[in-house]
């Protein structure tokens, strides 16, 4: 295993030290492993927290700051954080206007956030939850834990963060969050597996000439594997299942071509070019985009495409100022 770490057990604690040292937008509670905004939000505004297993950086800690999250809970690598962490974060960030929990649809995340929300409700804090379940690679939702929450999470945190920042109340923020979640779709692929530090070797073996289509963000194997194709055909395998699942024509669309952690930017640009060409053919008009590493899977090589069907209001909120380590504009 080739990693820049001290020991598998210390990865999260050590990385949080670096986050604290580098990111002016945040302060770090090391005991609880929560990343908070350096300057808390003004009283009366809805607060937003998220969290999940580590290994997906910059998500979520890199999205804490003005215009986006108020706090992010860092779990162990690929392991949902615990209810204690979320309760601590919820209690700390609440300004009286309530707290939105942004949860990705995994059994562990759902259960831990659920327990935290129950405890927060007990403590008298109004909590709403939005669950992101946007991964079209998971087909038969009836026979599975449901679609995984992946790329839409990033775009949702930005849009909903802007709404909270401008003072929308908890009900409105929750409705908006659900709307973004309902209108987001993602699809991913991998050229290589990632290696979980405590496991010490790749989660799955992928021969030199094979790729895995329909992967998530935890090194779960995908839906199937096949020989590595060219960028054009890979782009098609990302675009087609998304467009089959939701009609993206006739509305502005926000697109994200995301790297899984080990993919060089030159390849992401190249893939984005192919994706845009296919979307244009299909009559889909991209209004805003991100190309880069936003929701990663440790050192996995590969990429994912996320489309969110937006409206003018969502685009306005997208364009609103944001100041975090992972996304920044207007400030």
């Amino acid at each position: 295993m080739k990693k820049l770490i001290n020991s598998p057990d210390d990865v999260i604690a050590d990385a949080l030290k670096g986050v604290e040292a580098s990111d002016d937008n945040v302060r770090v509670d090391h005991a609880n492993r929560v990343i908070y905004r350096a300057t808390p939000k003004e009283a009366g505004k809805v607060a937003i927290i998220s969290g999940g297993g580590s290994g997906h950086e910059p998500m979520h800690g890199g999205f804490v700051g003005i215009g986006m999250l108020d706090a992010a809970c860092a779990g162990q690598v690929f392991t949902s954080p615990t209810p204690d962490q979320m309760l601590e974060a919820t209690t700390t960030v609440d300004t009286g206007a309530g707290v939105l929990h942004i949860v990705k649809n995994y059994t562990g995340d759902i259960m831990n956030f659920e327990m935290a929300a129950e405890m927060a409700a007990d403590a008298g804090i109004p909590v709403e939850t939005v669950v992101v379940a946007d991964d079209v690679a998971v087909q038969d939702s009836l026979y599975t834990a449901g679609r995984r929450g992946v790329g839409t999470t990033v775009l949702l945190e930005k849009i909903v963060g802007a709404a909270a920042e401008e003072g929308q109340d908890l009900g409105a923020v929750k409705v908006l969050a659900q709307k973004v979640a309902d209108n987001g779709r993602s699809m991913g692929m991998a050229l290589t597996s990632c290696t979980v530090p405590s496991a010490g070797k790749p989660t799955f073996d992928l021969p030199e000439d094979q790729m895995e289509i329909g992967i998530g963000i935890h090194g779960e194997p995908g839906r199937h594997r096949e020989p590595i194709g060219d960028a054009k055909s890979i782009a098609k395998q990302l675009v087609d299942p998304i467009l089959q699942d939701l009609d993206f024509t006739g509305s502005p669309v926000i697109a994200m071509l995301n790297g899984m952690g080990g993919t060089p930017l030159i390849e992401l640009y190249l893939m984005y070019g192919e994706v845009v060409a296919l979307l244009k053919e299909a009559g889909v008009e991209i209004s805003r985009n991100l190309v880069g590493n936003y929701i990663t899977s440790l050192d996995m090589a590969g990429c994912s495409l996320t489309l969110v069907k937006a409206d003018e209001e969502m685009i306005r909120l997208w364009d609103a100022p944001v100041k975090t380590a992972g996304l920044r504009w207007g400030l």
């Binding site: 598998p8 297993g53 779990g75 162990q76 690598v77 690929f78 392991t79 949902s80 954080p81 615990t82 209810p83 204690d84 995994y106 059994t107 562990g108 259960m111 831990n112 327990m115 690679a137 998971v138 087909q139 038969d140 026979y143 599975t144 834990a145 995984r148 979980v196 405590s198 496991a199 989660t203 799955f204 998530g216 935890h218 090194g219 779960e220 194997p221 839906r223 199937h224």
Partner: protein
């Protein structure tokens, strides 16, 4: 009715032994989770059970022991297994009352309460390829053995055997819950990690009562 009692000390030993077995098999558990999950089940369980160890000496009643162990799992494991194993032990503790020893029957009732809590939390059914596929048959075997007049020793042995059989039966199953479900048909042919770590609960109990 069985004469043997499960004492506070014995149950503390149970948790200690469970932690030892998990630690011994953590690489194996992670390997199982690599095939159909995200390669962390061994690390998750080892971290949680190690944290439980730091508290087992403190408890003066069985309910305190089990509730504290459950809460510790919830707050140190995270992921799927944290809330599930945590709920199992917390609900067990809630069912026993503030005692220092339990009859075999009452222990069985506590286990049953724990399993019901776990199933409610996980919204699982038998055959979903989860830890429930080891736990449920184990509890059934335990209850049946006691009903047939077996002593604790034999009931635990029967439970351990049924857990192992349930665990083995997960191999051909197509997962419908948890991370393995994303694989669809590709999940078949792999033993479930959670069913494996659940089986260790009964192995550990058998070890400490000498079954």
């Amino acid at each position: 009715m069985s004469e043997q009692l499960l004492t506070l000390d014995l149950l503390a030993d149970w948790l200690r032994r469970y932690a030892a077995i998990v630690d011994e098999h953590k690489t194996y558990l992670t390997e199982l989770d690599s095939a159909i999950g995200d390669a962390d089940h061994g690390a998750n369980m080892a971290r949680g059970t190690a944290a439980v160890l730091t508290h087992v000496d403190d408890a003066t009643t069985i309910d305190a022991l089990l509730k504290k162990a459950g809460m510790t799992l919830v707050s140190t494991v995270g992921g799927t297994s944290g809330p599930l194993y945590g709920t199992l032990l917390m609900k067990m503790g809630m069912a026993t009352g503030s005692v220092v020893e339990l009859s075999a029957e009452d222990f069985g009732k506590a286990l049953r309460a724990g399993l019901e809590g776990l199933v409610a939390r996980g919204k699982t059914e038998l055959g979903d390829k989860t830890m429930v596929d080891a736990l449920a048959p184990a509890l059934d075997a335990y209850d049946a053995a006691l009903a047939d007049g077996s002593d604790l020793h034999d009931a635990v042995a029967a439970a351990a055997q049924a857990a192992a059989a349930g665990r083995d039966a997960t191999t051909p199953m197509v997962a419908k819950k948890g991370r393995a479900s994303y694989l669809g048909e590709r999940s078949a042919g792999h033993q479930d990690p959670g069913a494996t770590s659940s089986t260790y609960l009964f192995d550990a109990l058998a070890d400490v009562i000498g079954a």
